[in-house]
């Protein structure tokens, strides 16, 4: 097992399905997520692709109950996140690198979160080893490099040994070695039967990591497909992605005509 974790509890896999039903979020007059309906299945790495500002992070936050949808719902194994009995044991999340207090050590950060879900201290040491931060665990997290912050974020995600993992732009700031490490980790977690939902705007990376793809633009679902299907008929996945998203990208430069 790549992750060094035990296999997810012998729950039917339906409890590891992420389901978005007409999920909608507006900020003022702007629609950030627009009627998004998607099912993310266990046992695969599902890439969540879209240009900057397409609503990926907002969707992730709504799945976690951090932002309230204006319409629709996000369910994990059929229940809203806030109804989960032990959230961290069910869903692991990596939000933007920085969802920690810079003055707190990695170990204290993990210990606090572990306490909230009655997880034993041994889990803290375990995930610190898994992400390679054992040696730096007593240092204030604010002194970490971006790559180390991402590793701390991954440690938080793995803390409760969850069957569902949500990771928002996890490769940001990782060096090539770190990117490969994360790729192997995520693929290993999916192979263990977990649901792995990873947002990114790096198509090349998703081509290597993901099995399935959910592509959005301006908050709307553009495609729910596999890497192979999307890249078929195009020179590369990147070309296919750009063709799919180009009408939805609002920051295109002015074309000289």
């Amino acid at each position: 097992m790549v992750s060094g974790l035990r296999r997810p509890a012998a729950l039917p896999s339906v409890f590891r399905v992420i389901e978005l039903r007409e999920l909608t979020k507006r900020y003022g007059g702007r629609v950030a997520v627009d009627g998004l309906s998607v099912r993310v299945q266990p046992g695969a790495v599902t890439g969540f692709l879209g240009p900057n500002g397409s609503g990926k992070s907002t969707t992730m936050r709504m799945i976690l109950g951090l932002d309230a949808p204006d319409h629709g719902e996000a369910l994990i194994g059929g229940v809203p996140y806030r109804e989960l009995a032990w959230p961290l044991r069910t869903v692991g999340m990596l939000l933007d690198a920085g969802a920690f207090h810079p003055g707190r050590s990695a170990r204290a950060h993990l210990a606090a979160l572990a306490a909230s879900n009655d997880l034993p201290g041994s889990r803290v040491e375990r995930v610190l080893r898994t992400v390679g931060l054992s040696g730096a665990a007593t240092r204030r997290a604010g002194t970490y490099s971006l790559g180390m912050r991402q590793r701390l974020g991954v440690a938080v995600a793995l803390l409760g040994d969850p069957g569902v993992l949500l990771l928002d732009e996890p490769v940001n700031g990782l060096d090539p070695e770190g990117i490969r490490w994360l790729r192997d980790l995520l693929r290993g977690l999916a192979a263990e039967g977990r649901t792995v939902f990873v947002s990114s705007h790096l198509i090349a990376e998703m081509a290597l990591t993901a099995d399935r793809l959910v592509v959005i633009g301006r908050g709307r679902l553009l495609a729910e497909t596999t890497v192979a299907e999307l890249s078929a008929g195009a020179d590369s996945l990147e070309d296919a992605f750009l063709r799919l998203t180009s009408p939805e990208t609002d920051y295109r430069g002015m074309e000289a005509s």
Binding site: R61, L64, G65, L66, D67, A68, Y81, R82, L84, A85, W86, P87, L88, V91, M93, L95, D96, G98, A99, F100, H101, P102, G103, R104, S105, A108, H109, A111, A112, L113, A115, S116, N117, D118, V156
Partner: protein, 256 residues
């Protein structure tokens, strides 16, 4: 236990509170400031004529609570705004999605810590004053005297309530600077306004934190027109409950 609850949230908050340096610095500063003011007052009275009374020494040596209330109020604010400022709040709410459970846990843990620190600080102010007047003709104030003990204990309680008010304001305002500014303004501005009305201002003034502290809580006997010390402290707890309640309502409807 089949699901998380207050107990788990409180353990999380205890670890969070004790694992950042600002907590310890604010606690040390609160105790040190009260000890310093207490000792300063005592030294100042050593050669004072006429010879000071025990009550005078006590009342004045607890004056450092004016500073300590700001430090512990800031501690309360930072337990909440420190999380909003850093993004930690999203980790917290992901771990404990019932936000009012988080708020209650924060209030309980921070309030408990502030009560302990407040009592130590209050005692430090008292001891500072007493040690500084040793060997003079000024009568010693003994903690065995109910009036003395009451003032010291109530001052600790007042300081804890200030921290709770900080938790509530922090939850409502969410930004450290703005929340601490709001807290300080609420402490001082009403008192200045009431001061403009002179003697008649006491009808309103007896409800104001700083006036209560200096004239009702941290004194052996309240000045006429003010509430007894314990009522003043209860009023402070009421204010704290009100702002925490407001924070809890806002918390429910806002995106993290």
């Amino acid at each position: 236990m089949n699901r998380y609850g207050f107990r788990q949230a409180a353990r999380m908050e205890r670890i969070k509170l004790t694992s950042v340096r600002s907590t310890w610095w604010l606690a040390i500063a609160a105790v040190a400031s009260m000890a310093a003011v207490g000792a300063g007052v005592g030294l100042g009275y050593r050669s004072h004529t006429p010879v000071a009374t025990a009550a005078q020494i006590l009342n004045n040596s607890l004056g450092g609570a004016v500073l300590a209330q700001l430090l512990l109020g800031a501690l309360g604010v930072l337990t909440v705004t420190g999380e909003y400022g850093t993004g930690m709040i999203r980790s917290t709410f992901a771990a404990v999605p019932r936000r009012r459970t988080v708020l209650l846990a924060k209030a309980a843990v921070c309030g408990g810590a502030a009560l302990a620190v407040g009592l130590i600080a209050s005692l430090a102010g008292y001891l500072g004053g007493q040690l500084a007047i040793r060997g003079t003709a000024i009568p010693a104030a003994h903690l065995g005297d109910p009036a003395i003990l009451r003032a010291v204990v109530l001052t600790g309680g007042y300081l804890a309530a200030t921290a709770l008010i900080g938790v509530g304001i922090g939850t409502m305002v969410r930004h450290s600077g703005a929340a601490i500014g709001t807290l300080f303004a609420l402490m001082f501005v009403p008192m200045i306004v009431v001061g403009l009305f002179g003697e008649s201002g006491i009808q309103v003034g007896r409800f104001l934190p700083l006036l209560m502290l200096l004239n009702s809580v941290a004194v052996t006997s309240p000045i006429p027109g003010l509430f007894p010390g314990w009522i003043s402290v209860l009023l402070m707890c009421g204010y704290a409950a009100a702002v925490i309640l407001c924070g809890g309502v806002l918390l429910r409807h806002r995106d993290a």
